[in-house]
Amino acid sequence: MSPAGGLVSRNGDAVALANVPRFPLDAFRAQTVSAVTEGVRVAALFALPATAGVAQLVAILADGRTGSLSTAVTDIAESYPALTSDCPQVHWFEREIAEQWGIRPEGHPWLKPIRFHRAYRAGRDAWGRGPDAPILPSVMDFFRVEGEEIHEVAVGPVHAGIIEPGHFRFQCHGERVLHLEVSLGYQHRGVERALVGGPTPRTIPYMETLAGDTTIGHATAHCQAVEALAGCSIPARAATLRGVALELERLANHTGDLGALSGDVGYLPTASFCGRLRGDFLNMTALICGSRFGRGLVRPGGVVFDLEPDRVAELLERLDRTLTDVAGAVGLLWESPSVLARFEETGPVPREVAETVGLVGVAARASGLDRDVRLDFPAGIFRWAQIPVSTWQSGDVFARAWVRWLEIQRSAEFVRGQLRALPDGPVRIPVGPLAPNRMTVSLVEGWRGEICHVALTDAGGRLAHYKIVDPSFHNWMGLAMALRNQEISDFPLCNKSFNLSYCGHDL
């Protein structure tokens, strides 16, 4: 038994649904709260569709110290006492549950929609809206600070750049931001609902476009889940190539982010250089599979494209050349007092806050939290090849930039090592049908942080439910916390230092 009392599994294991323990609500609540108090994280909390008016609440608790994932279930009806009051990191999950299923977590301190769509159960609505009442994004009561000198700033959904849509509402006193509320849902395309009944030929394109900049991350998480459910173990060469592609995705995005951060403080040399260098990493992915974003590479059973010795040599040569240029471009940042003055102490997220909110990925590690799926819950190639976790303590924009630079170096080293010692063998094997009535939790450390896919099959081996948690789902609240008591003119810089996904959140 785990600290949470649920069924313990490892990343990428499949378990029989019948073995997942069902607890009374009180016990479920108590053990979830106590596990989180002891440092375990909630990787996912979601509801399964109701039968006969009773839905099931499922909690996936991730214990990074032991690498165990614990799953527990409880029955809920039309409402239940919210966990958020005792376990703030599930606040967004409970809003999602309310919106999707019309189930009210009573006592939730800020129960509002997150994606602005109708509940999946006809006739149910957590806010009592009628079936014909319009649901418009961001049309709701925002958190308001009152006072003679307080003013409100509304930004988005259409922003002043090539960027996805979202709405930001600031409560300000002069330049100082007292509170930022993030309101999303503009990108909602109904992915989770469309996955039920699959897999179909569209399943993989959904995964590759959940968050298009994380094609490899989400496609890998999905394929790991499918392979677990089908009882298939992919060849070592395939696992290695997936790892290489995942780290190339990280290299491209981290490099682009450092350039964009540089641009946001008006330091143009690094901004210009990194804009090009990000593309050089993307072009390495295109050398592997023809697509800069890795479309068409990762499939159930392995990968579609193999690497010949010439292609490996070309990749290694390009990697060395590009990394030298990245080191030169990024090195300028750390030697420029004007850059450091803008990065340091801007948008700080203290460690305790990061822990309470449940941050993941770069944002968590920049606040000193030692969290990384690759090391804590290794799957695929990361079971054999480890990448040291990069952390920094200050939690500010500088820390989020610096952690990216540390990770660039370590990812490049990893890619180099793997390409030099590619295991022999096939890159793809056939995958059989999915086993019926099973469940799996699949985690991948995408470049933004922990990607969590939970897949459940029905009696016929079709997908009965599919839960996706993009790292942005955990981290948008981190951005809101980072803005507290900052100048509103620092919002673009803080936002870029998180660089969260809108579509990955909105699904």
Binding site: A160, Q187, H188, I204, A211, G279, R295
Partner: protein
């Protein structure tokens, strides 16, 4: 300052000579699909069944492929038992009419640019406002990259601007979600007429993988008058750049 100058020297000149020199694309790049119906087996529907977005239909024994729906995943070509379908390295995919995205044999002559005088207005300077309406950030990223030194969109007199009031037209990505429809329409109306509308990517043209979801509107086509269609998932930056250059005459960007 000295460090910046040394870094600048080391980084070198990095702007692609495209379109004056042919592009260098990876050998596995999947560009314009090519059909060879003569190779098709009778009553074979394998490609159509493999396609995730219904981009291929078989009419008689003739496959017909809609690039506006195509994700360029090549699942069709992988499944085709007779090699009747392949993806070439051709990156120039943009067209002026939705119907010209249909690849078939014989291929009708594609439509030319609009002749209402709008293009003359954009010849020296073209300002575009980008709107992501449910896009996954891949099309967005590969539009954004055109503004970097690698492509230097500014040298063609094309600029992505922050305000629709400053724009000559919209460049739209994404399947147009229900939740973005109003914002897209308002942004369009905020652009002073005459306006230009460019749809980039399978989503903006047809809904892409999200076609027929109740949460989306199958792209911008049914909502706004689209002038230029740039297919792909996402289109390669050079495919997008080639599309944008259709708005200019070759002489204007230095082509002899």
């Amino acid at each position: 300052m000295l460090k910046e100058l040394i870094a600048r020297l080391r980084q070198g000149y990095r702007t692609t000579p495209y379109p004056l020199a042919p592009p260098v694309l990876p050998d596995r790049f999947r560009g314009k699909p090519e059909l060879n119906p003569a190779a098709c087996r009778p009553d074979c529907r394998v490609c159509a069944l493999a396609c995730p977005t219904g981009a291929i239909r078989v009419d008689g024994d003739q496959p017909i492929l809609d690039m506006g729906r195509c994700l360029f995943c090549a699942d069709c070509a992988c499944h085709c038992p007779s090699g009747a379908l392949r993806f070439t390295g051709e990156h120039r995919l943009a067209v002026w009419a939705r119907g010209d995205l249909i690849v078939q044999q014989p291929q009708p002559e594609p439509a030319g640019p609009p002749e209402d005088g709008r293009l003359q207005l954009y010849r020296r300077a073209l300002k575009l406002r980008q709107v992501s309406a449910g896009g996954c950030n891949a099309c967005e990223a590969d539009v954004n990259v055109l503004t970097t030194i690698a492509f230097d969109l500014g040298r063609f007199g094309i600029q992505i601007v922050a305000s629709p009031r400053h724009a000559d037209g919209l460049l739209i990505t994404g399947p147009v979600t229900e939740n973005m429809k109003l914002a897209l329409e308002k942004t369009y109306l905020a652009v002073p007429p005459p306006r230009l509308v460019i749809a980039v990517g399978a989503c903006a043209i047809s809904g892409g993988p999200y076609a027929d979801h109740p949460e989306v509107h199958n792209g911008a086509v049914g909502i706004l008058p689209v002038d230029l269609f740039i297919p792909g998932c996402p289109p390669h930056p050079l495919t997008i750049l080639d599309g944008l250059l259709r708005l200019k005459t070759p002489k204007e960007y230095g082509q002899p």
